[in-house]
Symmetry: C2
Subunit: 214 residues, 2 copies
Amino acid sequence: MSITVHGFSPSGNCHKVRLLLEQLGRPYTWVEVRSDQGATRTPEFLAINPNAKVPVLVREDGAVLTESNAMLCWLADGTDFLPADPWARAQALSWMFFEQYSHEPCIAVARFICGWTPLDSPRRSELPRLRERAHAALAVMERHLATHDWFTGDRYGIADIALFAYTAPAEEGGVSLADYPAINAWLDRVRATPKFVALPDNDHEVRARIAASA
Amino acid sequence: MSITVHGFSPSGNCHKVRLLLEQLGRPYTWVEVRSDQGATRTPEFLAINPNAKVPVLVREDGAVLTESNAMLCWLADGTDFLPADPWARAQALSWMFFEQYSHEPCIAVARFICGWTPLDSPRRSELPRLRERAHAALAVMERHLATHDWFTGDRYGIADIALFAYTAPAEEGGVSLADYPAINAWLDRVRATPKFVALPDNDHEVRARIAASA
């Protein structure tokens, strides 16, 4: 069944879905949605996702799935990217809920504020607290990686994809990865997986804002 | 296999796990952890969950599972509380990720601030924004319930349990449910399910703070 993903390419949440689709070798259509320009707030988009967020996955029959990590679970079901054993699967899900609750709301939001809000945005006052929480989340990951190679049981899978998405570009939000050797080694292992695709390069304007936020 | 849950009874995240265990009729041991008094920050607790959060589920063999919604998935696996069909299961997971990303961080946090922080806490300045976001999440739920009875496919299940936990006591955080008829009808349907157990009553001190926060 052919599927369409509505996504904003620089978004880590959207990139998760693209990365898994590429690694599965599964055909898909990508519809670019400029969420940074209000494109998730139009009546047309809200009819697809009333929660006004990308990514959104739409099946050929029109059925809609929201929430990036739920998409990863659906796409990975029955593949090597998600363990079949219930306890191992629950551990992968645990990391994915950790990602959405304790990781993304600080690491991704710090990056968004640095790269996609004006340099005089009042939201920049949130950065110190977000970075502090980001380091707390990274410390939990570093501790896990001291005794494990992956977050998805014994092998690479969707919990790794979920956590990779915003850990890889963390420094764009002013969150240094210098003190996390195990995380850096894991990021390299993820980048070396077959058919890996990286986030696209940021455009000039975003790069300039990030440079000015350092 | 016998299981132990470390939890703080007034916490909705902890109550989710208790509610499902009771409805499954599955035996368990409950260890009360006063997270409101710093009990998740002790070295003993951090050895079980370095992310310093309750609930934590521990199997008889010592294996640990964190994240309330991952526990629900594991406990419900193979039961009527989680659909077997992959697409329906993904939809339930989508609501559970929505709960942890868009619902709990505003509805639960508003309730926590009102009931469990001093009346002069600086955190109380967060309340207007949290309540605004809480209503945005409730509007998404109300819209779904206009055409569906449940959040877990065709029947009651773990996505309903996840969303019920903090929707039911929303008014303790100053988030009125008066304008959500479909949500109120759904809350009543959940309360009428077999072996339902409610959150325990708040103690006197918490009730007084909530009353003073109105």
